[in-house]
């Protein structure tokens, strides 16, 4: 009787303890995830590009060439197609007036055909509207819109937003039929920030009076550069006599010239890009605003926005993933801590550091105390990763408990 009572007590005590510890670990995991939600401590995890050309018709050839050149640059520096949203009217390459059918050039030497085999246009023709543009930015689509047309960014994304076309004082003209005002753009970006859709945003505008388009921005974390000030026009670079129209704009031409010299691993900073624009060559003043942007420009590499550099480091031992985020992108490598006997504090640091090394963690003896408890339950969650094994173990444990209790009570 006593034995049974003792065993029963042990079982109930065990079950209480089990429930308690389960609740605690769940709490701990929640806490750990909440510690990532403040933006200042977000990690930069991926790069997106939204490239918009707002004009159509044959005489706006150069806007199409601008956007396609940026598309090629951004792809070359590493951003893949699934993270680029390209909005073009796309009526140049197959236009009857094009004497080089299916080819789009941005230079009269015709060295580079921008319209190759793998240009993926997400919004083409009459789909480039103000409504679709704002839906892309804010993420509020109809349910039937496919994933390739959505901007699936999160709070660790750096987004490059490039817009070109005909613009004016505080507006940008879309396809000769509607306009977007600078206040609408500012509000859309604020919505993005509230929903945590970007960590940092770079807006690049190549139109007439471009600086007025981002004059109303008020969300932190946004950096903007335009090709001309209010009252100035932006000019095209040169005319191609064969094609018969101007093929590229000056601002984009000099931007591309800057990027021609780069490859993926260069550390050129944004300030060197912004300072490379010469007002005499541009025939307008390239103006940028950085009052909403916290980091100093000379410490931000251009590949933070224009490329997507993913450092892969080779480790000797296999590793289990700790949490959902497996890859950290950074141009700098930090030495991983591979010491197996570190205490729990350093284990927690692993989560917030930039290193990408995970180590295998062996379960140690359980000591009473909070830290130890967390470590213990991290090990438990580690085992929870393997769901099949967990289910099997659980069923086994339940069967054992049932057998023992029935044997004890009978």
């Amino acid at each position: 009787m006593e034995g049974r009572k003792y065993e029963a007590k042990k079982i109930t005590k065990f079950s209480h303890l089990f429930l308690y510890l389960l609740f605690f670990s769940a709490n701990a995991s929640f806490e750990s995830s909440f510690s990532f939600s403040s933006s200042s401590t977000n990690m930069h995890t991926n790069n997106w590009a939204v490239l918009v050309c707002t004009s159509r018709f044959w005489f706006n050839y150069r806007h199409m060439a601008n956007t396609l050149s940026l598309y090629r640059t951004v792809k070359r520096l590493g951003i893949p197609d699934e993270r680029i949203i390209l909005m073009l009217a796309d009526d140049m390459a197959c236009n009857t007036r094009n004497s080089y059918p299916a080819q789009v050039f941005n230079n009269e030497n015709h060295q580079l055909n921008l319209y190759g085999d793998n240009v993926e246009v997400d919004y083409r023709g009459y789909e480039v509207t103000v409504e679709n543009f704002l839906r892309v930015l804010t993420g509020r689509h109809e349910t039937a819109v496919p994933r390739s047309k959505r901007l699936l960014s999160d709070e660790g994304s750096h987004i490059l937003l490039y817009m070109t076309g005909h613009g004016g004082d505080e507006f940008l003209k879309f396809q000769d039929s509607e306009e977007i005002q600078s206040q609408d753009l500012a509000d859309a970006i604020e919505q993005m920030r509230e929903k945590g859709r970007f960590k940092e945003l770079l807006i690049m505008v190549d139109t007439c009076q471009a600086a007025t388009l981002f004059s109303r921005l008020y969300s932190p974390g946004v950096l903007a550069i335009g090709s001309s000030l209010k009252g100035e026009n932006s000019y095209s670079h040169h005319l191609d006599s064969d094609v018969g129209v101007s093929v590229v704009d000056r601002f984009t031409f000099y931007t591309l010239a800057f990027f021609e010299r780069l490859n993926m691993y260069d550390n050129a900073s944004l300030s060197s890009l912004f300072n490379s624009y010469n007002p005499n060559l541009l025939m307008s003043t390239a103006y940028y605003r950085m009052d909403l942007y916290k980091r100093p420009l000379d410490q931000v590499p251009v590949t933070n926005f224009f490329g997507s550099v993913m450092e892969m480091t080779h480790v000797d031992s296999a590793y289990h993933a700790f949490s959902g985020k497996t890859k950290y992108e950074t141009p700098h490598i930090q030495m991983p801590s591979s010491d197996q006997s570190t205490d729990q504090a350093e284990q927690q640091e692993l989560r917030t550091s930039d290193a990408s090394i995970e180590t295998k963690y062996s379960v140690k003896e359980v000591k009473p105390g909070n830290n130890h408890l967390m470590g213990q339950w991290k090990a438990l969650l580690d085992m929870v990763e393997d769901t099949d094994a967990f289910v099997n173990y659980g069923l086994l444990a339940m069967a054992l408990v049932a057998v023992i209790s029935s044997w004890v009570l009978s």
Partner: protein, 598 residues
């Protein structure tokens, strides 16, 4: 043409006799008249290249007129040039609009052939009977299967008419002459002329000209005016360099000559080339006359000439091809002062406005009687007693009663007379085909008695009015003149402008000679003389003779020229004819009546 793979067809048409149908001023085109055929006909050949990827809604038209009766080297060159361009365009990769090539047979005139084709294109008439058609080269048609069905290519975006002239200009480069004026002073969009000028001068080194009045080039007084303006601008420029406004003297003289020619041709209302037929259907068109630098008898000279000019026309076609809509960004109302400079409507409206503005004001002032009373008193100093008494008895003799109706009746009668004599030439033309001088004399002979007949009808009531009655007449004349000028300025601005220059001073200054005569003094003398002079100039035949004599020498002028000139006007349905006979002539007659008022 069929070898290039284009759609080819023949269009045959009959010549149309010149007829003067009074209603044709107001209707679009004269009605089809089956009884008016002559025995001969002419054949236009038309080829259409369909753009391989285009949507076939728009077309560009190239016209090369040639005379099938007597073919010369220049005609052959025009057609050859057009054919080579046509072949090139058939292979072009950038074609977005269809190309139509009309080889127009100018047996009955270049304009007639183009006009017939356009009429069949836009307003076709389907006659029941089949036309009796024998092609010039009888067997070619059956060999190549060229049809007679009329094929179309959509709306026309622009049209270029070009021909090669044999004579060389001696300017050292090939010369391109642009003719732009169409009927009733309409002009094509300025962008078309700009394209031709830019391509010709900057890309191909040709020399571009527009028509100019060569007589003005040598005039001395124009040079003096130019020098004077240059002097003034130099003085002003020494104060502030930005205020310099004058051109060098030679440019000024040449610009004035071109401007005068442009205004004159627009005012006439007669198209200056076959492109005028296009403008009636709201299609921008110009005529290019290309004259080579050296004579084209050698093979090499011909091929290099063809290459140069062919590139120019290909460039024009490509520019129009790249457009999305018809030309609409530039001016439609302008005068040219050189191939690259123009005076736009906002500027040239101002002098006309200034000229016409005093007319209604003076008419109102005269009618209210204040001006007339002052004039009566001023011109009658020796009869102050009489006039004072008259004014006491009847202070405002011309207001408040129905006295104005008599003057109005006279004005109406004069206008009715003018309408009748404007219809007279058609009857004369149909009645007799004698030579021009006799026609003109017959016209005058018929018009003068009818005038007196009308005058006598309305005279009896008019003479009841007293001394100041002529003021009412003048007021009504000025009113009629301002209405006529205003209406004309909408239809053909250049005519209204020139007409205002002649009409307004005459109307403003007219005053009964006898009343001026009563007063002595220099002012009155000048007034009298100016009235007489203006009265003389105001008479259209007189001014015509004067101008012609001044430009060409007085020996060559005869009465027949005037008849020819007027016939030219009405055969082209020009509104200038109506203006001259319905506005200018009645006002002149009424001014004469006031001038000779007893």
């Amino acid at each position: 043409m069929a070898e290039t793979g284009a759609d080819v067809y023949y269009h045959s048409f009959y010549s149309r006799k010149k007829q003067f149908h009074p209603m044709s001023f107001f209707m679009g085109a004269p009605m089809e008249d089956n009884n008016n055929h002559s025995s001969t006909h002419a054949v236009n050949s038309v080829g259409i290249i369909r753009a391989p990827h285009g949507d076939g809604k728009e077309a560009i038209v190239l016209v090369s007129p040639y005379n099938s009766d007597k073919m010369e080297l220049s005609d052959a060159l025009s057609v050859g040039l057009a054919y080579s361009i046509f072949c090139l365009l058939g292979r072009a990769a950038w074609l977005a609009k269809d190309i139509v090539w009309l080889a127009a047979d100018s047996k009955f005139g270049e304009y007639a052939s183009v006009a017939e084709w356009l009429k069949q294109y836009h307003d076709p008439v389907f006659i029941g009977k089949k036309l009796n058609f024998h092609p010039v080269d009888g067997d070619i048609q059956f060999v190549r299967g060229i049809s007679e069905d009329f094929k179309r290519a959509g709306t026309m975006a622009a049209a270029i008419v070009f021909k090669v002239l044999e004579t060389s200009q001696g300017t050292g480069t090939d010369n391109v002459n642009i003719y732009a004026e169409s009927s009733n002073g309409q002009m094509p969009n300025l962008d078309l002329i700009n394209i031709v000028h830019y391509l010709a001068v900057h890309r191909h080194g040709l020399h571009v000209e527009v028509g100019k009045l060569s007589s003005l080039l040598n005039s001395l007084w124009l040079k003096m005016v130019g020098k004077f303006l240059e002097g003034v601008s130099n003085i002003v420029g020494s104060l502030n360099p930005k205020w310099r406004f004058a051109l060098p003297v030679l440019d000024y003289v040449e610009g004035t000559a071109v401007l005068a020619s442009s205004v004159y041709h627009q005012a006439l209302g007669v198209p200056t080339g076959p492109h005028g037929a296009f403008r009636d259907y709201q299609i921008d068109a110009i005529t290019l006359e290309i004259s080579p630098r050296v004579s084209l008898n050698s093979e090499m000279a011909r091929s290099s000439f063809l290459v140069r000019v062919g590139r120019l026309i290909e460039g024009i076609v490509r520019s129009v091809n790249n457009l999305l809509e018809k030309f609409h960004q530039s001016f439609f109302l302008y005068f040219l002062t050189s191939p690259s400079k123009f005076v736009s409507v906002g500027v040239y409206m101002i002098p006309f406005g200034l000229l016409v503005m005093p007319l209604p004001i003076l008419a109102a002032a005269l009618y209210s009687g204040k001006a007339s009373e002052a004039l009566v008193q001023k011109s009658d100093p020796f009869n102050t007693q009489k006039s004072y008494k008259a004014s006491q008895e009847n202070p405002f003799p011309s207001v408040g009663s129905w006295k104005w109706i008599h003057a109005a009746k006279l004005v109406f009668a004069v206008h009715l007379w003018a309408t009748i004599i404007s219809v007279l030439p058609s009857l004369i033309y149909q009645a007799s085909c004698t030579n021009t001088t006799t026609n003109f004399l017959i016209w005058i002979a018929l018009s003068i008695p009818s005038f007196f007949f009308f005058y006598w009808i309305s005279l009896s009531s008019y003479f009841h009015s007293n001394d100041a009655g002529w003021a009412i007449l003048k007021a009504l004349t000025i009113g009629a003149a301002s209405i006529g000028l205003g209406l004309m300025s909408i239809i053909n601005f250049a005519t209204a402008q020139i007409g205002a220059i002649f009409l307004v001073p005459m109307c403003l200054m007219v005053h009964p000679l006898r009343q001026i005569y009563r007063g002595a003094g220099l002012g009155e003398l000048l007034h009298m003389v100016s009235n007489v002079v203006l009265g003389l100039i105001g008479f259209p035949p007189a001014s015509f003779i004067l101008l012609k004599g001044w430009s060409q020498g007085f020996e060559e002028v005869n009465m027949g020229d005037l008849w020819v000139w007027v016939e030219n006007l009405w055969s082209w349905n020009s509104a200038t004819y109506l203006y001259l006979l319905l506005v200018h002539l009645p006002c002149w007659v009424l001014c004469l009546i006031v001038l000779l008022h007893p």
